[in-house]
């Protein structure tokens, strides 16, 4: 079952050179992933686990100091695969927003502060849609907003006149303006309060149901993943440690790190003492040998230190990268 975007053994590292000393940060370290169509795909992980870098690779925007060290990212366009990372500037620019678009994290300063929002919308439209007059494009934008339940006169306001929640929803509407096949969202709700976050997630769900495209949602908040994503992957130290349908991952988490992510956070109504993951987050400068989680893993065994576990099917499409899960995998579910 090949998906919309295929990622094979992707290796992208940051190469920082300072006063003669060269440092490589292995942000995405040999990741293989298949993102299906018509689904909200979640990527979970802490800060510094490489999820934002993976998003940049998916968006084919690899600029120094980030460099490609191996592997491929291919888009499925008109059912043939093209290698996204080898596209030249012009091709990339055309694909942007028509095939793949992006929702930024904080919408504080994402819009041109001295222009009305409608000018920003027109900039995006005029750069991709040819042969239509400005007025026509504007009515297209207004109609698009109405469909999503947002009041079109917002376009006549300046960015600083709107609240954080409203600006973020305008950014999301903008990302869906040209009905792209894939929308990438990097922590879209971190800067928002709980109520505004709920409205933003609601909007993203409506967009996905309406356009039937794929939204790749990156966030550290497991609650959001449970609430909105259909299937998800969990990243740790630049690698994918578990991937599968969200229902399965929450009902039967396999990787010890996933268990911690789900159970260590407090919930209203449950006063049980919660313990956080022991030890400190891994350094991507020289990641630990073997399984990257072994220094902090409670269920460690001897060969965890030397061999890197690869993603192995525990059930039909629920994979995990952990030696312990391999043998004792009873796959009763």
């Amino acid at each position: 079952m090949n998906g919309l975007i295929e990622v094979e053994q992707l290796q992208t590292f940051y190469v920082l050179e300072y006063l003669g000393k060269k440092k490589t940060i292995k942000a995405v370290n040999d990741v293989t992933l298949s993102i299906p169509e018509n689904v909200i795909y979640g990527i979970a992980g802490e800060s510094g686990c490489g999820k934002t870098t993976l998003l940049k690779a998916l968006f084919a925007s690899i600029e120094p100091p980030l460099q490609l060290f191996g592997g491929k990212v291919s888009y499925l366009i008109k059912n043939n695969f093209i290698d996204a990372l080898s596209l030249n500037g012009k091709e990339k620019r055309e694909l942007r927003w028509s095939y793949i678009s992006y929702i930024p994290q904080g919408s504080m300063s994402v819009f041109n502060p001295v222009k009305k929002l409608k000018v920003t919308y027109l900039d995006f439209l005029e750069s991709h849609v040819r042969g239509k007059a400005g007025r026509e494009l504007l009515s297209l934008a207004r109609q698009h907003l109405e469909q999503l339940g947002l009041s079109p006169q917002v376009l006549d306001a300046f960015p600083h006149q709107l609240s954080g929640g409203m600006r973020q929803r305008i950014a999301i509407a903008l990302s869906a303006l040209l009905k792209p096949q894939v929308i990438l969202a990097d922590e879209p709700t971190t800067a928002l309060d709980v109520v505004a976050q709920r409205a933003v997630l609601q909007l993203m769900r409506d967009i996905q149901q309406e356009i039937k495209n794929t939204i790749v949602l990156v966030t550290h908040d497991m609650g959001i993943h449970a609430n909105i994503t259909t299937c998800m992957a969990i990243m740790y130290a630049g690698k994918i440690v578990e991937v599968g349908p969200t229902q399965e991952i929450f009902s039967n988490p396999l990787h010890p790190y996933t268990k911690f992510l789900i159970h260590s956070l407090p919930r209203i109504g449950d006063k049980m003492p919660k313990k956080s993951v022991p030890g400190a987050p891994p350094s991507l400068l020289n990641p630990p040998s073997g399984c990257p989680f072994h220094p902090r893993c409670p269920e460690i065994s001897d060969f965890c230190q030397d061999k890197v576990p690869d993603l192995n099917n525990s059930t039909q499409n629920h994979k995990v990268a952990c030696w312990l899960r391999r043998e004792s995998c009873d796959c009763n579910s």
Binding site: K92, S98, G106, M108, V114, F124, S127, H160
Partner: protein, 334 residues
Amino acid sequence: MRFFRDYLVPRIIQYIVVIFCGITAVFFIPRLTGQNPVLEMIAQIQSQGSTLDPTAVESLMETLKELYGLKGTLFQQYITTWKRVFALDFGPSFFQFPTPVSELLKTYLPWTIGLFATSTLISWILGNILGGIAGYFSRKNWSKIIDALIMIIRPIPHYIFGIIVLILFAYVWQLFPVGGMMLGRRTVLNWRFIMTILRYSFLPAMTLVILGGAVWFQQMKLLVQNVKREDYVQYAQTGGVKERFIIYRYVLRNAMLPQITQLALALGQVFSGVLIVEMVFSYPGIGLLLYRGVTRGDYNLVMGITVLSILTITTAVLILDLFYPLFDPRIRHK
């Protein structure tokens, strides 16, 4: 109406306060130095060999005090200064006795205003656009070369750069006249007259544009390199917006704003530059007038020039401040 109260009223009040402080400073500072220009003047006359008997000295002292506005107590002098400022009459000039200072200023000031306005505008626009483009393509070689060149021009003061331009263009290559233009009584606006104006004002204008442009170029380049990293520019680039739009509507448009406030703040220094350049090229503006007034110790003239410059600069700053909201909607719509 909130905009009027929030933005305009404070600006106008600041305008009045600055003028008031400026004039008061110009009034008090000379008096602080404890030097009395009248005694200075008499010493100068006596040093030129003409001996005066005491009564003549006494009456001369009275008239000089009258002309300098030094009669009566400090407060009365202060009031007479303000009367002079409002009437724009600064008493007679000494080295061209009896022509009143305001007469001299009327003939020389338009020249300075012309040079000041054109050169500042050209250097600001040119410097910003070039700096913006160089900042945007900062990795290209041509922008590095211009940058190195500007790094040499930027620290050179107005007078020294003026001298070099004068030596090169007037003495060595003899393209332009060395001396200043004599002011005829009648200024008839025909083609020949305009050509002579251009010939005489080309070197000072070029000096000012290059020196001023270098400053704006560097500041704009720095601003653009920062604005390039702003979220809204990166977001527009990820959105595949045409590069043309990004440069003009996003980068230059936003980087220009601080440059307007910077221009308003730097007007005082830019104006001083104009006066100095006028001296080098003996361009017939109030800079030259200042040079002659100072070398001959003509207090009234220098006082008049100072007060007039304060009025011109503060008015120009006020105009710039009033223009700023047109460019920055964040101030117009709170």
